[in-house]
Symmetry: C6
């Protein structure tokens, strides 16, 4: 399957087009930016260039610099900052541990996309955000990669539970995406040994009633029970793995959360400095064994 | 998740705009009012200012005072008073105990939002009302907070049962909201250990057939049975808790109800005076143990 | 819940408005009529006044009298009389016992609304009618009141069965309303201990496909089975109660039916005279015990 | 429930209106015809008068006589004769026994409507027809009457089976109507002791998708199973009864069928002559016992 | 039930009308053709006459002869020949055995309609065709006749299996029609003793969503299981019968297939000559015993 | 069933029409091309001729040659090449083994269509492609042929698993098509002995809501369970067969994959050269035994 977004060469060309009549500082290199924006659509890139121009104008800068570009990229990827939003100390603390959980698990699991930024400054509709950025563009995803993604999605919620002893409504979106991903592994990609190399359900995207009116169910209730069991089994296994990882690394978890409460935003190097190594310490074999 | 209503600073600005051409008494301070109206939308605030102006005009007051503002706020929060409505003594008594139940449980449970007013003057479509007002704005809700809300919703019905030995149709809306909240805890926020950190059902909000045509069910009948069991278990546990709280405090319950029958409306201080302390006496540990 | 019909004061004002340009006899007192028409909507009241004017005109009366008003009220409440309709002696007899059943049970059960009239003159789409008129307006209904209503609805059918040994299609509407009421007690008002203080199903009233396309079912098949069992249990208990009441009072039942066959229409005082007391003889305790 | 067709007085008036400008023989008495056309709508009566005028005109009669009226009535009740239709001897024989079965069972069961005519001349869309005509208009139906109707509907099929050892597609409509009637007895009229005095399903007649899109099912699968069992039990009991009646009276059955093959159409008197008595010999007690 | 097509007299008149202005050879007798075209609609007959005129014109014949009529009739009944279609030897062989199976079973079973033609020249959308022509028009069908039809529908598939050891997608339409017929026997015509004289499901033909949106299911899942079992039992019994018939007559089956491969089209007399007798050798008793 | 595409003669004529005004080299023979394009629709052929003209124009060739035709045919069959797409070495390697799996299984299984080309150059929406080209046009398909197709569809996924120990999302489309084919074998073509010669479900293609809104389910849940079991059994049997074939021939699998990584595209002769024989070595008997 090919994702309908431009590849690195395509991005470079798109950036050149949108940057043509802009005043650019010498440090702006389209090739470099193109490499750092995998997954961006043409519209995302145009947005980013315009946003950078705006930032430069606001700052009375004569030319758009690489720093403007970086800020613009963050806005496109993660939504606008909402610094004015009033958040209680308690919620800020919960958010810090939630994001620290995402970040730490993403760091520890091998084969995951590197972290771009972690922040507890509200952005768009979120109180906090952990952003990953793939090194290269993928067209297909291995089941091990997807299982790691399940772990990352669950890690915010597990961190809350470990530290505060209870969870909040804030993880609703995480577990929704996690459940959907696990369901696709079972029903579309044949990644459950129990269910075998079959697809379950029929996508109904073109119907006039709207978008995908939900997978059309073309199987028996008995099969539905087995699918539910498999989806739950896969999510619970990931959840257990996350519990173990965060329990064993709770000191680091606390350090990241404290750093977030102090500095609000952390980059990949900040996190590496806190945990004291480059991450990916959970050995692949160990992960495999759990699959 | 961010609720799309203005925060305290936003509210202050909105109030300033709508109050610009109004004749205001010196005691009217936008900042104070803004702090006392969390959860109000821009339209609510505009409504409130206009309503206050109307009340001032009706009373032939030259300027809008803080008292007009307070009355206007109550109308926006709780609907217009319907004093002309004829209600039998029996129904008035049932309503008093129903609202007294809500108020007492909200007072006793720790971590709940403080009570603003309790009344048995019919307002809007209700025979009585217990209104809470949060101290600060929440963007997420902890499971313990939600469990307390279940208790508050059930407490009117339990009070009726304790005092009169039977229930009325008047709690229909309470148990509907209580059931929906418990279902969301199980299906959207992963707050049932039995069901695990998964989401159940798919929201279908955008379909042209209307608003959320009900959660689309994407799970098996067997899972549906487990969800029903969990929702019922959570509601019954809250109901049991309320039974215990009101039974142990039935003397206070009667005092509040009597006060309501005499004075019709009670504020937070009135209730504190009746129960003899500041509330929140049910220890968190005790609540936790029941979770 | 507030029923959107005017209360006694509202009715008096509405009557005054519609009566303004009518020639009224001196005995017509709006206040008295207002007190005798609880549950009437504004349109009902207008209808009644116009109908009374028509009756006066037909009778070549110069002014509308209280008698015209009474007849008009009956027409609005129970539909137009259809005296021309040809009904066999057998059907007339069955109807008399059916209505006598309704009337007697309404008389015997405590807390029910008083009877206004019982008739076997066909009115509207019905072969006979038993009309109750509440003493005061209710905004909520206690479960004991609703259980009595179930009994009244079932009593026509039970009377037929007791007297003729078989039932007819004539009770179809009664058992439909009885079933719907019992279902609401279980699913909307939490009046089944088995099902607990939860609501079952989601009302879908606003959908463009028409009015309430039936409660949307948001529960499992297993829960559906329990709901069915509870609804049936509640109806059967009421049915048993009615059997007992009518069996124990079969002589009175026969007397009322005979009176109906002779006089066609009976008022509350007629029925009291037949049964020899004011009714409500089934003690509340006895009823309660069955709940 | 009142059927929206005119009663005997109404029919007489309607006939007078439509007969006003027609040339009528002296033997035509509207009152007599009105009595002989229960269940006819206003349109049916108009049809009949016009049809009689047409028949008179075709026969070059100067005036419409009672005989024209009779023929016109048959056409309106049973559809136009289709004498030209070619039917094999075998099919004619099967039809004769099928209709003889209907007629004989209708004769033997007490309380059924009297037979008007039996014919094996194809009419409308049917190869043969047995027409009953009620003595007086019913507004409600007793369960015993409905059970007899089930028997009459099944008797054509049973006759075929008894005589020819197998059945044909010709009884498809009979068993469809029989099943629907039995289902209504169980689900709408509370005539199954097992299911009790409750209604099952919700009629959805006004929905824009067409007429009654089928009863909306508002009960559990478990209740559906019980309904199916009851419907089947009721139909099978009727079927058994018919088997017994026709087996015990097979000689008469053959005589009626032979008479039909010879004379094509039989009236009530012809059938009485064949069976040697006035029918209704199956004692009510016997029928009751089976209920 | 009456099929809405003209009978033999009707056909003769329709043929006369459409033949009025055509140049006809003396051998063309409408009466004869009318007798040979049962089941033809008015449109079919008009088609046939026009087609014959076209054939005569193409062949430069001055008048339409009986031979043109015969060819035109075949085209209307079976679709246009598609001689140009390229078919592999293997497919031609499979088709020959498939059609031979249909033909042989139709010959051997008593009471079936006589064969008109068997062909392996592709016609319309089919690779081959076996056409039967009823001797007289039926308005109803006996269950034994329908059971034989099930056998004929299955016989192509069974022949393939017997000769080649496996089946092809080519019988998809046969088994679809066979299943539908068996389902109607069970659900509409009461021909399953197990299911009794009841109809199952409700035809929804007039709904605007299209034609019969499928039988509306008005029964329980438990009944659905029994229906499925009966439908399968009936089809499997027919299949077994066909297996036995074709196994016992495999030499004749091969002879018919060989004749088809050589001559492409066979008439009734050709087949009689091959099997050495007039067919219908499976005694009715034998068939009955299987019912 | 006839596929609505032109046969070889039809294709030749269509090619002549579209080639009429094109400048053609002498080596272009419509007859040859027609033989090499089974399954092409008229639109495909027109596309191909135009594409060839374009290629010739781009290459500044005066006339369209057979080489242009070949390239155009590949583009129409397999989509446009997307050489610019950036794919990681890892994904390229996985794709090579995936396609090698498809190719090898198609080579080894007897009776399958010959391979036209195998490529790991991205085309259209695919990272790689294995294209088969039938020797002659089929109108029906034997169950053995379909079972082989199931094997070919599963072989890419099995190759990934054997070589890399895990699977990717890249086989999602393969298993969807495989499941649909197996389901049709069971439900439409009667190819499961367990389910017998019956069709299950009703195609609803003409409904205005769109194309085939999914097979309408006209069977019980119990039958649905059996269908699911059969579909799974058939797919798992094919999967097992593929596992065996690829395990036994893993050296050849690796050779083909290596050749693909080096040469990117292989033709039938290239693959024959690699595996050292003409393929189809899995004996039919062996395959049969597994059916």
């Amino acid at each position: 399957m090919i994702v309908p977004v431009p590849d690195v060469k395509g991005r470079e060309k798109i950036l050149e087009v949108h940057g043509q009549k802009k005043a650019l500082a010498e440090d702006v290199k389209w090739e470099v930016i193109a490499r750092g924006t995998p997954g961006f659509s043409g519209a995302d890139l145009e947005n980013m260039v315009n946003e950078a121009a705006l930032l430069a104008a606001r700052g009375d800068a004569e030319k758009i610099t690489m720093i403007h570009m970086e800020q613009a990229k963050d806005k496109v990827m993660m939504g606008a900052e909402r610094r004015s939003m009033i958040i209680t100390e308690k919620e800020k603390e919960i958010t810090a541990y939630h994001e620290a959980g995402h970040a730490l698990v993403a760091m520890l699991l091998p084969g995951t996309d590197p972290i771009h930024k972690v922040t507890i400054i509200p952005r768009g509709r979120a109180l906090g955000l952990t952003q990953q950025l793939p090194v290269d563009e993928k067209h297909t995803y291995a089941s091990s990669f997807l299982k790691n993604n399940l772990c990352i999605l669950l890690s915010g919620r597990v961190a809350e539970e470990l530290i505060f002893g209870e969870i909040t409504t804030g993880s609703g979106n995480d577990i929704e995406r996690c459940t959907q991903l696990a369901r696709k592994m079972v029903c579309e990609w044949g990644m459950s040994e129990e269910m075998g190399p079959l697809s379950y359900g029929k996508k109904e995207e073109q119907i006039f009633l709207g978008r995908e009116i939900a997978q059309h169910r073309d199987y028996s209730e008995s099969t539905a029970v087995k699918i539910d069991d498999e989806v739950k089994r896969i999510v619970l296994k990931a959840n257990e793995k996350v519990h173990q990882l965060l329990s064993e690394n709770s000191a680091v978890l606390r350090s990241i959360a404290q750093a977030l409460l102090e500095r609000e935003t952390l980059g990949l190097d900040d996190i590496k400095a806190i945990i004291g190594h480059d991450g990916k310490t959970a050995s692949p074999a160990e992960i495999q064994a759990q699959a």
